[in-house]
């Protein structure tokens, strides 16, 4: 394809689409707003690092060793499977023995994880192989249990971020519904929120072939008639479906980018 044809491809006869215009304004809003959004949900550095660790655990389904590094220096190895923490082995120390009581085990694990989060100035986590032995005691803790023990969230690490997203964007919404958990939450216009729950229950925006919830968070935005847009944000099994004025789309996208795109 020649230069002229490339220019023809990029030509925008008839004006930009509404969504294109929206994204354009989002881009103009720029990374400054995104960074503001990240700062508003990050909390103290240790808690932020702890959330990172919990998120890695929550995204690990198969038996894996996760090694926690401070920059390039290994600090500890986690044994994780089925989104649960089975063991924590700190470098140079014996593996932390978790009590058989789940709540006590969560507290012990969280103490160890907090020490890691406080120690590491440049925390990194890498998968370091398939876990051949899944704990000796058989005790394991879900991310929700660990997060609750850490005082981060009632529902878990991923819910913490999605709920932070919901809290920040709901002022923009005509109506919204946070679904995928036993405690669906809605806001805005009640009738619209009911329809959004109905839309969620049809599986809209979810791949029907997916056997498990998508590991990566996603946020889709789609233009609708009457200058409104539909927002479908998902993390794990939890989703936010909302209808927003199209003009607020850049703000919603900025909030999402601030919370999630700082991962990359």
């Amino acid at each position: 394809m020649g230069q002229a044809e490339m220019a023809d491809v990029l030509e925008t006869s008839g004006g930009l689409s509404r969504l294109g215009d929206l994204v354009h304004r989002f881009v103009l809003a720029g990374s400054e707003a995104a960074h503001d959004g990240a700062g508003s949900c990050g909390g103290d550095p240790v808690s932020a690092a702890l959330r990172v660790i919990l998120r890695e655990i929550d995204e690990t389904v198969l038996p894996r060793y996760l090694t926690v590094y401070d920059s390039d220096r290994p600090l500890a190895r986690l044994v994780v499977s089925n989104r649960r923490l089975f063991a924590l082995e700190c470098e140079g120390n014996a593996a932390i023995e978790a009590p058989s009581d789940p709540s006590a085990a969560a507290r012990v694990f969280v103490q160890g994880l907090r020490n890691l989060a406080a120690t590491a100035s440049a925390l990194r986590i890498r998968t370091s192989g398939r876990a051949s032995e899944i704990g000796h005691s058989g005790v394991s803790c879900s991310v929700g249990h660990l997060a609750a023990a850490a005082g981060l969230s009632e529902n878990g690490g991923d819910a913490d971020r999605l709920d932070a997203f919901v809290d920040q964007v709901k002022p923009f919404c005509h109506g919204w519904a946070r679904c995928g958990t036993q405690d669906n939450r809605t806001g805005g216009d009640a009738e619209l929120a009911d329809y959004l729950i109905g839309l969620s229950e049809t599986g809209y925006g979810l791949a029907k072939s997916a056997r498990v919830a998508p590991a990566r968070p996603e946020c889709a935005i789609l233009p609708l008639p009457e200058d409104v847009s539909l927002v479908v944000a998902a993390e794990g099994r939890r989703r936010l479906i909302a209808v927003i004025p199209t003009e607020t789309g850049p703000d919603v996208l900025s909030v999402w980018a601030g919370i999630y795109r700082s991962d990359s």
Partner: protein, 128 residues
Amino acid sequence: MSISAHLDGLRSAVPGCSLVAFGDLDARLVLRASSARPRPQEQLDELCTQAASLLSNTAGETVMQRVFGETGEIPTEAVVLTPDDVRIYVRSAGEQADVLCCLCDSAMDAEGAIAAARRVLKKISDGQ
């Protein structure tokens, strides 16, 4: 001009675009793709499946009409942000079966990519 040439041109023309795929929403099948490097079929399938999940009328008519307006029409384009990339989906307005998927590395490219994809999709649908 072949479909492959259209896709190659679109990918070259949009900065930061690493993949363009042309698919059929009804069949949920990628028919042609242009990529700088080989892509596993699973990734192409995932893109087409996501496009279908957003741009096909998979929900009941009443819900669609309530949510998407009196005509019940579903959107013809979507932008999906992930922590790693930006996916742009543009569906043909008429047949509602053809779709173009663009994988970009930044939302900075979304505006031009949407408009360019819309034009290329029309050309493909018109057989140009």
